[in-house]
Symmetry: C2
Subunit: 371 residues, 2 copies
């Protein structure tokens, strides 16, 4: 069988491309909203412009005319939303003449920092606690050329060292205290509004350090001030139940959750996140690891979308709070990272398994498939 397109079909083609493919990266696309000048040397991997994917199975499960979308930020160049902040942080470091950057991270931040720093011709130092054996995401940073130092101590000691290094040596700190990161991250809210034509009713988002919820709110409010959206969303922040300081109202000393990207007991952006919740009439809620994993599986097996477990907290939270949604509401769930970042979870928590040693015979195979 071959497929052919007739000349008649081709002659009906529009002379203009209706959809542009020339996305220049988020700094160039949203330049007027960002702290860059005409002479700023933009370091970009053409991040941003990630798909806002309709989630028909979720919409149907909720009913009442509710429309659910997921903002799939795992399709950024290094596989997470951290690229949005890192293109800004590394661009500003480059502008300031930096030759090296540093961060303490065992996760998505280290990968993003390494990729953008190396692209800019800088050294990228990553400090981690010693004894951290699970290579996982760190493998990605190493391949990008990160120089990884494992110190004797815990993660707080690593944070202390990178801060001291940046104060005493010519290395720029790109941990979440770097203010340019939230500037870059806010562009995700711009993209949501640019696609929907307005802000959604609810913005559901996983909350760890609370940087992303802060950045989204910055984005929505700046767009609102400019008349780009008529309304502001209710910001719904979801924390893993074992790492939920905003629900406890105080830091959690030993946070525990399968959702490692939000396993944070003492969020860096505490006051900002509380302000977001108040100004947006938003809410913080906990979701259990069980609920997170169910949402993780549902997204993959019903919507065809593979995210990190932490990302699925936004969908788990939506499903838990769905009764409070207005009819006909528009909801956006933020999926912060690509499921490929964490293949061991896919193996461990898939509900399907492989049927082994099946005879290579048509009837046997058909019978195994239920025919």
């Amino acid at each position: 069988m071959t497929v052919s397109i007739s000349a008649a079909d081709l002659s009906e083609m529009p002379s203009m491309t209706r959809y542009s493919t020339n996305w220049p990266g988020l700094i160039e696309a949203y330049r007027p909203y960002l702290p860059v000048s005409d002479t700023t040397p933009v370091v970009t991997l053409l991040e941003g412009n990630t798909p806002l994917i309709p989630a028909p199975a979720l919409s149907q499960a909720i009913g009442r005319g509710v429309q659910v979308y997921v903002k799939y930020d795992g399709l950024n160049p290094t596989g997470s939303f951290k690229d949005r902040g890192m293109t800004m942080a590394i661009t500003k470091a480059k502008e300031a003449g930096a030759k090296a950057v540093i961060c303490a991270s065992t996760g998505n931040t280290s990968a993003a920092a390494a990729a953008y720093a190396r692209r800019a011709g800088m050294r990228a130092f990553v400090v981690i606690p010693d004894g951290y054996v699970a290579l996982g995401k760190l493998a990605q940073a190493l391949l990008y050329g990160a120089e990884v130092i494992a110190i004797e101590g815990n993660f707080d000691d690593a944070l202390t060292i990178v801060r001291k290094m940046s104060e005493n040596y010519p290395v720029t700190l790109v941990n979440s205290v770097n203010p340019y990161r939230l500037q870059g991250q806010k562009t995700a809210a711009f993209e949501v509004v640019d696609v929907l034509g307005d802000a959604p009713d609810w913005l559901c988002i996983p909350v760890g350090n609370a940087g992303n919820i802060t950045a989204y709110w910055m984005g929505f409010t700046e767009y609102h001030q400019q008349g780009k959206c008529a309304r502001l969303p209710k910001m719904m922040g979801f924390q893993a139940a074992g790492a939920a300081p905003f629900i406890a109202g105080k830091p959690i000393p030993n946070p525990e959750t399968i959702a490692t990207a939000i396993r944070i007991g003492n969020p860096a952006n505490w006051e900002k996140a509380i302000a977001v919740q108040q100004h947006s009439q938003g809410e913080f809620h906990p979701v259990t690891d069980q609920e997170i994993l169910e949402a993780y599986r549902l997204l993959a097996s019903q919507e065809g979308i593979f995210c990190e477990p932490a990302s699925a907290a936004s969908v788990a939270g939506l499903l838990k709070q769905k009764e409070h949604l207005p009819n006909q509401a528009t909801v956006v769930c933020v999926l912060t990272g690509n499921g490929l970042k964490d293949p061991s979870n896919a193996i461990e928590y898939s509900s399907n398994s492989i049927k082994q040693k099946i005879k290579a015979d048509l009837k046997t195979v058909a019978s195994e498939m239920g025919f």
Copy 2:
């Protein structure tokens, strides 16, 4: 430190968004070029519109005004170019009323088939040879909800079974013999032209089954017929030296290469690929695993781009053939899959390693960093 944008800055913002974020998926974007009608039920994850990233380190390494870009198709929704073909194949299966699809694949095809089939509400069967233990990419398919059957036999037996199943039972075959897949894949060439304004001088591409080189050429020639590009590229196909039937001029019985996605000894699209080479005045060349790994590391550590080893064959080939490039040439290297698909290679082949057990003391750490 805080970053603020002044009201004056904001008032200079354009009232229109210059860059659209409303990409509707490749079928909708290139509808006149594809075998769909107004009533075709499009199954999409908003695939396509992947970034064409400038590669300044490669351009500089080659010199003579040559401009190198990489088409990073690893940023498709399931992490590889297979999504382009699968949105078409599953859409057409859905249109024909299919309730299930089937393929034989241990790699990117199985993940794409599962994601799109499950999104369309179909069952997704994946048949693999028994004893295949490395879960890797298969884990992704399982999480998407694929039903995986491991048969007693080799990969050819698996191919035979899925073909027979599709002939005798109501399951649609979505292996590479499905003709709609190349239709979807050709859109990558459209995107390249839409960004560059014309076809490149060289299109460098990894060659395994030779479906993608065939599809790109279809795309370039269709666009050329429509006057969308003034020229056609020289198609440069690169095969792993241990799996290079087009260089040998005959099938390779036991292909061997680290680049598993192109470890194919008897390509399904043999005649088509030879025709592409002849019509484009193109060339096939081998690249060694060593050269592939060097390109893989270079892309990550100098360009900030993490691809599958097989993808890096296009860059390895370019570097090997660079002397034959005209001055000022424009080159596009196709990167077919996301490096996150294959984290074990990142761990094994990174040139960097972790410095362990470093005392958590400023001077010690600084000294380790070379300050």
